[in-house]
Symmetry: C2
Subunit: 384 residues, 2 copies
């Protein structure tokens, strides 16, 4: 395969690594901004590069429905279509079918659903999601898995896990026949049951994927439970392969999960919350529409070097947001993505020098963890 991974340094369970793809090198731990419909909402590829993004996530479900993967293939693949020179990971679409589509019917063969846009009946099979992701031409593809609501009974979880394993095998086989250099990651499900999580990890690893995702997290379980399960699963995964915690999370979740050995993340929080007027700063979140910022000449975050913080005051950003100006969404998105990527860069630097625990302490000394943010259990995980 043309995607390789190496661990460059460790600090406790935290890992400093490097993914090498046909579309550039990606230093890990890494955060992947979500580009649902072939665009990270409100940002250009240049904005993303300036913010330090080297890999973005594309949502197969959305691209399949619009503009269609055949069209994307015809126009040279997703990289060329969206003019993004960096790496791309595509999900399998399974999560969005589960959370967004109507009339979902899961069978051994795959999942049938009705497309929201035109009401047409669609079907995703394990082989189909591999074919679609090949058409999109992503650097990293994901297997089709079944997602369960939280909480789920043990019997339900076991039955679902078995189906997910069979689908993973079929994805693995379908992908092997392609040989176009695209990596394929397996997904470890298992709900909140430790034994089932470990069983899922072992079964997934047995199929020998290029990397392993931890799925079905941040779907409503208590935060300490999520951290504990992440730690458990990460330990059960091979050290030489990248570990990807899907759909997570808030800044503190990134810090806690890196501490437990996770290498890759994606989440809509920095982008979606920006459009809702919430900015992330080193001291916590700022709700820009609040009257307290009306006359505030300071930037969002005095320690931030992004274009938004170098050029604009909170008062101006508040004005733009209250006036529903397009520039508000763009400047806040730019800042939030920059904040997330800088947070990851700081963690990488700390791990490389064996100073991760000191970093973690400094982070919490400044950062006010808030329970008022958009809840992590938002099941959407895409920017529709």
């Amino acid at each position: 395969m043309s995607v390789t991974f190496e661990v460059l340094a460790t600090d406790g369970a935290a890992r400093r690594g490097r993914l090498t793809t046909a579309h550039g090198v990606v230093d890990t731990p890494v955060f992947m901004p979500v580009g649902t419909q072939a665009t990270v909402k409100a940002l250009t590829p240049d904005d993303l590069e300036t913010a330090g993004a080297r890999i973005v996530l594309g949502n197969t479900y959305h691209l399949l429905l619009r503009p269609g993967h055949d069209l994307v293939r015809e126009l040279g693949g997703l990289h060329r279509f969206m003019s993004w020179p960096g790496a791309i990971l595509t999900d399998s679409g399974g999560f969005q079918v589960w959370s967004l589509a109507k009339l979902r019917k899961v069978t051994e063969d795959g999942v049938e659903f009705r497309a929201p846009l035109d009401g047409s009946l669609r079907f995703l099979s394990p082989e189909g999601v591999i074919e679609i992701q090949r058409a999109l031409g992503s650097d990293i593809a994901m297997v089709l898995d079944e997602c369960l609501a939280y909480p789920a009974a043990r019997e339900t979880t076991e039955r679902s896990l078995a189906l997910t394993r069979r689908w993973a095998e079929r994805c693995r086989a379908a992908h092997a026949s392609g040989g176009d250099g695209q990596a394929l990651f397996g997904i470890v499900q298992g709900g909140t049951d430790e034994e089932l999580r470990l069983r899922a990890a072992a079964e997934t690893v047995a199929l020998d994927f290029d990397g392993y995702a931890i799925g079905g997290m941040a779907v409503g379980e208590p935060k300490p439970r999520m951290y504990a399960l992440t730690e458990l699963v990460a330990r059960a995964l091979p050290a030489e392969r990248p570990r990807y915690l899907m759909g997570v999370g808030k800044p503190e979740d990134l810090v806690e999960s890196v501490a437990r050995g996770v290498d890759m993340f994606d989440c809509v929080l920095p982008t979606r919350n920006a459009r809702n007027g919430q900015a992330f700063t080193g001291e916590g979140t700022v709700t820009i529409k609040q009257a307290r910022w009306t006359r505030d000449a300071a930037p969002l975050d005095a320690a931030c070097s992004c274009y938004t913080c170098r050029r604009f005051s909170r008062a101006y950003l508040r004005h733009l947001f209250v006036a529903e100006e397009l520039l508000a969404y763009r400047l806040l998105t730019l800042h939030n993505v920059h904040f997330y990527l800088e947070l990851m860069a700081a963690m990488r630097a700390a791990i490389a020098t064996g100073a991760f625990e000191a970093f973690r302490a400094r982070f919490y000394a400044r950062y006010a963890v808030s329970s008022l943010d958009v809840p992590l259990d938002d099941p959407q995980r895409s920017e529709a």
Copy 2:
């Protein structure tokens, strides 16, 4: 005053000139993108500079209502508030009161209206609009004038003209007492009556303003009438002062008005039409949502050097627009503003070498004048 103007070259009635302001040099003929609410919608100051903008227009009416001129003054003026290093021209707010506000009442003293945002009763006097524009700190301020609907009876136009003249005198007097280097432009009204237009021009010139605007155009009169009246008024204005045709227009209107001696323009067309999915190209307009562009790998305009045209296909732009992605509005706005500013640059270069007629012929040889664009008689003239 700190704004000076010189004519560098002429070619027929067309003029190549230069405005020098405290915020940089502005080559004329110039197009001013409209930044209604302290932002040219969807663009950053950097985008504007890259596109070649050196002066933008701010709408006093909108800024007065939100965030308020006192707040803008407190935060260092409009340039600093919106982080725009170039020049700014502000209108007086009169046109927007006329077209947007409810319960308008015009008296000798000024105009009373109810603010749409909070229902509060507001009053704009000639002295008030000077004070507000001083608070905003624009490089060029405009007098308060009365705007008439088209068509208007001669008697109505005469009465209105007399009021506009008295208001112009009061603005002139109020402005003279400030002496902070801001330029003040008078406005020539007069409807579609040639005699009244000439009388208005003479009366306005007698008050000795730093520049002269032609107002009340593109409000519904036939296009040939607008061109003829523009030519008539431009000839009646002093050669050594800049001439500004307010609220105009389409690309062909810019070409025709430059040919008749106009130096400055503003219009919402490039920005508003971008958000409605219409792009301007050297061959005419492109309606991006049309199905014919679904698989088109070509840029909007192969001859264009803007970021949008260098990086993205019509197919991708169509996808973004159909998917209602924020990036669609931004990329189309970027292109349209670039197109307008390049058109002005091409006209400046042509005038400088005495080749304006050849340029005009080349323009029409390629450009398909369309009657399907957003009508020019849209009375809004701001980006609300």
